[in-house]
Amino acid sequence: MKFIFTRDTWQEIFGTIRKNKLRTAITIIGVFWGILLFVGLQGAAKGMENGFDSTFKDLATNSMFLWSEQTGMPYGGYNRNRRVNLEVSDTYRIANQVEGVQFVAPRNAKGVFGDAPPLVINEVKSGNYKVFGDYPIIDKVSRKKLRKGRFLNHKDIQDSHKICVIGERIEKELFEKDEDPIGQYIKISNIYFQVVGVYKRNNTDFFEGDDSIFIPFTTFKKVYNTGNRIGWMLIAGYPKEDIVAIEEKAKTLLKRRYTVHPNDERAFRAFNFGEMFGKITGFVKGLKFTALIVGIATILAGVIAIGNILLITVKERTKEIGIRRALGAKPNEIRGQIILESVFLTLVAGLLGMTVGGLLLQALNTYTKGLDFPFINPTVSLEYIGFAIAIMVILGTLIGLIPAQRAVSIRPIEALREE
């Protein structure tokens, strides 16, 4: 083992490598490529994961929207195509009777589902914008980034305050540049509302964009005369609860209450963030796993390529090895030299691949920064790097053993006879 650390051994190896540049270059390309792919794929998968994480970080992922449409089956004496309307009381029922539900918030909206958005006027400026009647709790599910002021609060609901939170774009369109909208009054559907907050566009908005207005749910009810009807509701489960099961239970409860056929899939619809998020998480997991398998396979192929070329090299160097042995090289010295050559080339190729892979990921990160693409901070963890290095050294040694054994099995007399 001592010979690994002596300068002479390495001088011999470097001498051989330096004087056979083309052979060396061809040899390391295999492993270089393998590691490059390994690092590239792992990093890209990680970048995707980070990208999705960042996209969903402002969203309570264990939640859903639930709304009603027309029935799809006749049931209990009713015809099909009956319009079902959700009511405020349904939210309490679901909150109280369905297990695992953290909270339920009803929502109403104008200008979202095909109806005309209300006219909003600030003195001489005006525009048509979506208006949502909301509970403050909506902020827990789809977090609003407030640029100025505050969001709706419980007191607003209780007293049906005529206040509103507006989007950035509305601020730009209805107010002067240097004007502070907070505290000012705008006219929504002919009623004056005081602006209390301005929110910024979010990654995960579904309806709001940056041109919506939030008013208290209770105020909305009075202004638009919605009575007990609600447009849809937001149901959030506790973090560990199965949101898909909650969806089923909530629907079953509603079907029973509105006398809808148990198998009717059309009456109540839901958009389940948890389910979607689960699919994406699964996708990312699959991606990472595939990247791992493909990466390992390519490293393997690369190492085998090194072994292959070393084997050819041994054939080519038969005479040299014969000379060395005639001059007194012990079989172990020949063996050691070839294995070390193999391991050294594998490592150099690997480190090169990691460096280039890292640079590539960095370039990719810079390139995708401005784009609307879930790709952030592609990195490869140290464990993976260590794992790859370990694989390379072990395989490099094992694969080096084959040509090394061949080299010493040729008797010096035969090697020298070869012309």
Binding site: Q11, G15, T16, K19, I323, R324, L327, G328, K330, L416
Partner: protein
């Protein structure tokens, strides 16, 4: 220095075996300059390979410098080769990507001698064969005679007991051949034991003893009046 008794060697060639050496008896003392002659197929190269521990005899005994050479492991054979023997080949057998000095230093590397001393010794022996100025040239940049002189320097570098030369002038023209023999004679004059395999009579006459091999047995073994190569150069 070398005692060989009843040495037999046969090669298997497919189904029939070829009896190459049929009982060789040879006794070479220190400081001798012996040439082994014979037509091709007489077994002279086989004998040299056995003496050089590159090959092993089937039967008989071989003692080198009072060490019986028998059933050696590859490792032991490598150590003995390195310690006792210096090889000179017909095709020089230099390593083509190493320069002259590195080639000469190679047997010293396998002796575990430090780099600095290796370098010094390599230059010393290159100087001895008159190639000090060519120390950093690759074999491809040297002429045949120069290559063989580098090979002689390499064989000498490990300070062996016996020099073994297999047709050392086989690939050289007459003038260069005599130059090489001149070197070998000089080395022999200093007391080194040298064994040369050749089929050229003039080369053999430049040694001190000629062993004629024919069909695997020694036909004639006689001491001769040495012709000094310097007279012909």
């Amino acid at each position: 220095m070398i005692q060989i008794k009843e040495l037999h060697k046969s090669y298997r060639m497919g189904s029939n075996s070829l009896h190459v050496l049929k009982g060789i008896n040879l006794d070479i003392k220190e400081g001798e300059f012996v040439s082994i002659m014979g037509s091709s197929g007489s077994g002279k190269s086989t004998l040299l390979n056995i003496i050089g521990m590159l090959d092993e005899a089937d039967k008989g005994s071989y003692v080198l410098d009072n060490v019986p050479i028998k059933n050696l492991s590859e490792k032991k054979a490598a150590i003995y080769r390195n310690k006792f023997l210096g090889f000179i080949f017909q095709s020089f057998n230099l390593i083509n990507y190493k320069d002259a000095a590195e080639n000469v230093a190679l047997p010293l590397y396998y002796q575990g001698i430090s780099r600095k001393i290796r370098k010094e010794k390599a230059l010393y022996y290159l100087e001895k064969v008159g190639l000090a100025d060519w120390a950093h040239h690759l074999p491809s940049e040297l002429s045949g005679g120069q290559k063989q002189r580098v090979a002689i320097a390499r064989a000498l570098a490990s300070e062996p007991k016996v020099l073994l030369a297999d047709e050392p002038t086989g690939a050289l023209d007459t003038k260069t051949s005599y130059e090489v023999m001149n070197f070998l004679q000089g080395i022999n004059d200093e007391g080194k034991t040298i064994l040369v395999v050749t089929h050229e009579e003039d080369i053999a006459n430049m040694t001190k003893r000629i062993v004629m091999l024919k069909d695997g047995v020694i036909e004639k073994d006689s001491f001769v009046e040495q012709v000094r190569a310097s007279e012909h150069v």
